[in-house]
Amino acid sequence: MTDRPDCEGVRPLLAEVATGAATGPERAAVLLHTATCDACRTELAGLAKAADELLLLAPAHEPPTGFESAVLNRLHEARPARRTPMSKRSWTRHLAVVCAVLVAAVLTGAVVWQATATDRRLAAEHRQTLSVAGGRYLKALPILSSTGVRTGTVFLYQGEPSWLLVSLAGAPTDGEYRMTVIDRDGVAHPSGACQVRHGDAVEGYPLYRAVTEIARIQLDGPGGVHLEAHTA
């Protein structure tokens, strides 16, 4: 994760990313590379399409009676994700692209990021990042200590599959931090752990729910250290 992966390092991983079987850090490394490499991005898109088409082979099977009305009842309770107006939409996309650059910055060790004009120009060059692996958007949330001190960033990537990347810089204590994802219904989902050394950690995880369903992420470390990142 310290070196920026090159084509040779990424190619063997593309198939596993395409089938969804790659681990979080591998996926992050691949997406980081394909953000700037047309050849590998095209290769990944082709493999992902083939993997998706394979699912057409599953035998069809009629669901139990009442299935259709049960589904429609649930749909009526949930509104579809509205298309946002154009201006908002392009702004959102721009923000997401900036976040993609943030991931790149984190993975290459440049953890501290500031919203400078240079960064925004760099971001513009990464516009295609979101189309990688069907990604819909990438969100960056500040991780705050109980006293409101910023100690890192959580990146949430909505795609097929989705993933989450925790980057800590200057965490109060070293050791294992347990991560919990809390959804909008208030349900807590234990989601693994990361090892903090010298206050730093970068760790990727698969994300098993829609980014829009997540309310906050909490990290609990040694000595009762409690860190949180909120989505809204």
Partner: protein
Amino acid sequence: MAVTDEGLVAGMAAGDSQAAAAFVRRYQARVFGLALTIVGVPATAEEVAQEAFLRAWRYAGGYDPRRGAVASWLLTITRNAAIDVVRVSHERPYEPDTLLGLLDPQAERPLEGWPDADRVRTALHGLPHEQAVAVVLATFYGLTAREIAEREDIPLGTAKTRIRLGLIRLRDQLEVTDD
């Protein structure tokens, strides 16, 4: 004249519940069938299938026809919802042999009226058997190379190679038959 798949998805993105109803009717057997194939338990499969349609409804606005047909988009959503359940329960209740039976050229053709599936089946049969098995386990069940290595009792590098070569070959075969 029937509304196209793309038309129904566009309708759903606009919040049209009639389009959603038609969409569910058109695809429920395939969605439930895939969910059942992966989770193996009808009650769980029904829950997964409902969740898949809910996600499709929410994300209809994000469907991109350049990435693939509506069917594979929806089935990918279904697969992910099913794997979520399988992983959270920390169980592997499925019977892989049922799915691997799909690799058998003698298997009956359960998808009459879905010519796209025939095309994929032919491409899959073009792979060496062990590559086809690795690709199917990774794609349907989200098994990692390590899990496949354990299951098949082969070295990790071999499992990775099988997934990679198998998927590349599958992609090449499908591209040849693509119009």
